[in-house]
């Protein structure tokens, strides 16, 4: 009697460790490991934004839509520019600017304004991306050179990543019904070109390059400026670096 029981117990425990089967056959998508440090000798792309250079001209938003077939409607963005207005009473308003909008700016005679500036934003291409962690089908992933991409063939449009991204950098593309976001213009940078927004920005408020290259404009940008990233406390390790960022900006 005892014999049979122990046999069954052993047999069932093998059966129940179903993970072993999944593990052996590798049917479940495995997660990309978060990368702590850029591996040497490998391109590791980063992006720089000089907040004090941006004039809010929206050329970047325009070029991004042209280059990446982002729908024209003002609420679909891979990159966007926010306008911060801090008043003397401490209240800060943030509004995404609309390209070609006719709205009149507050004039300098509005003495209640303490300071005001533009902040360009885009996907931070986090080194430890929240969006990759949550994607249930492994459609969002990180390339070897540190760019987070969406595989539109396998994305099921569940919007989990859109919820998970702490920077609001993703949207659901209304035509493909898949998650879409900034790719650093992956098709351009793999051909040695700059991302479209960096190409057209008239004031060089946007910088792009390989973080592993010691002599790139990107490395210089990091060397010459006091650098901040957005929401550093979340440990997503953003690779979009901001120079001259105001404490108000999140």
């Amino acid at each position: 009697m005892n014999d049979r029981r122990s046999f069954l117990r052993g047999f069932l425990s093998v059966l129940l460790s179903g993970g072993a089967i999944g593990g052996i056959l590798k049917i479940l998508p495995s997660k990309a490991d978060a990368r702590e440090a850029p591996p040497k000798g490998q391109k590791w792309y980063g992006f720089g934004v000089s907040v004090d250079k941006c004039i809010g001209c929206a050329r970047c938003m325009e070029s991004c839509k042209n280059e990446n077939n982002v729908p024209r409607e003002p609420f679909f963005f891979r990159t966007w520019v926010e306008r911060y207005i801090t008043r003397k009473n401490g209240a800060t308003t943030v509004k995404a600017i609309e390209p070609n909008s006719e709205s009149l700016p507050e004039t300098a005679s509005d003495k209640s304004i303490l300071r005001s500036f533009f902040v360009p934003k885009l996907c931070n291409q986090c080194a430890s991306p929240a969006c990759v962690q949550v994607c249930p089908v492994g459609a969002t992933f990180q390339t070897k050179d540190g760019v987070v991409l969406v595989n539109e063939k396998t994305c099921i449009g569940c919007r989990y990543c859109i919820q998970a991204c702490p920077y609001g950098a993703r949207y659901l593309h209304p035509v493909t019904r898949t998650a879409d976001k900034c790719t650093f213009c992956y098709h351009r940078i793999s051909r040695g070109l700059l991302p479209a927004c960096v190409e057209v920005c008239p004031t060089q408020a946007r910088v792009f390059g390989d973080l592993n290259a010691a002599a790139s404009p990107m490395s210089r940008f990091l060397r010459m400026n006091k650098i901040h990233v957005l929401k550093p406390g979340l440990n997503t390790e953003p690779k979009v670096y901001y120079a001259n960022l105001d404490g108000e900006v999140r």
């Binding site: 495995s30 004039i55 042209n66």
Partner: protein
């Protein structure tokens, strides 16, 4: 050993057989039937990277423009617009580089284009050149005064603005911005030495303003200037007795 098999329950043996059969089917389905790319995420990702890299380009980059438009490129390199990419203003031009005759990049001429960067906006960084598009030389496209490939800050003849700064500033934002002071005033050299004794001339006839503003005026520069009938409009006065010519207030 034999004792073990004797004790082995029959139903369990059958259960094992069934389970093994199911397991075998599962292995066959996973290993043979499901195509490999569907199983390996790494392969799916490699595919996605390839797809992403293969996507078409719209912006050619300014190096591409310099290949053919080297003169403009050289001119731009020296001016305030040196850091601008050609496609910042002319739009995506990859198609143009592939077939220069078939597709032409845009040339923005509307007055609304340049103010996208240069209209006054308190959020813009201090020192960035900004104007008030309503007051700043209305009506004219920006390029009629500023060469967009080598723009310069506006200048008034130094000789005049040194003393007549207020007039110069006024004129700079008026419809008459493009007129030299000497278009209307003859300033003898002596005026600079004894400004009060020797005065510049003022237009003495209605026909002088009529060169641009008469109904049948031929002057090309004044194509869009407001036109009046000299015979009927305010006969006995010289124009500047009613209109301030440095900032003509006439509405169109």
């Amino acid at each position: 050993m034999g004792k073990f098999f004797e004790k082995f329950p029959d139903p369990l043996a059958r259960l094992i057989v069934v389970f093994l059969a199911l397991f075998a089917v599962g292995v066959i389905v996973v290993v043979v039937l499901i195509p490999k790319p569907m199983k390996a995420v790494e392969m799916q990702w490699a595919d996605a990277v390839k797809r992403e890299q293969g996507r078409p380009i719209k912006y050619a980059g300014f190096h591409a423009c310099a290949e053919c438009h080297d003169k403009l490129y050289e001119m731009k390199k020296k001016g305030y617009h040196r850091d601008l990419s050609c496609e910042t203003c002319h739009g995506p031009a990859k198609a143009h580089t592939e077939d220069p005759d078939k597709t032409k990049p845009v040339t923005p001429v509307e007055r609304t284009f340049c103010p996208q960067c240069h209209a006054y906006n308190p959020s813009r960084p201090r020192g960035f050149p900004q104007i008030n598009p309503v007051a700043h030389n209305p009506l004219k496209p920006c390029a009629s005064c500023h060469n967009p490939h080598d723009p310069k800050p506006p200048t008034t003849p130094k000789e005049c603005s040194a003393c007549h700064g207020e007039i110069a500033r006024m004129k700079a934002v008026s419809h008459h911005v493009q007129l030299e002071c000497t278009t209307c005033h003859e300033a003898p050299q002596q005026h600079k030495v004894s400004p009060r004794a020797i005065k510049p001339t003022k237009p003495q006839t209605r026909e002088f303003c009529g060169k641009c503003h008469a109904k049948d005026a031929k002057d090309k520069l004044a194509k869009n200037a407001p036109k009046i009938d000299l015979a009927e409009h305010g006969e006995k006065y010289v124009c500047w007795q009613c209109h301030y010519p440095h900032s003509p207030e006439v509405e169109q």
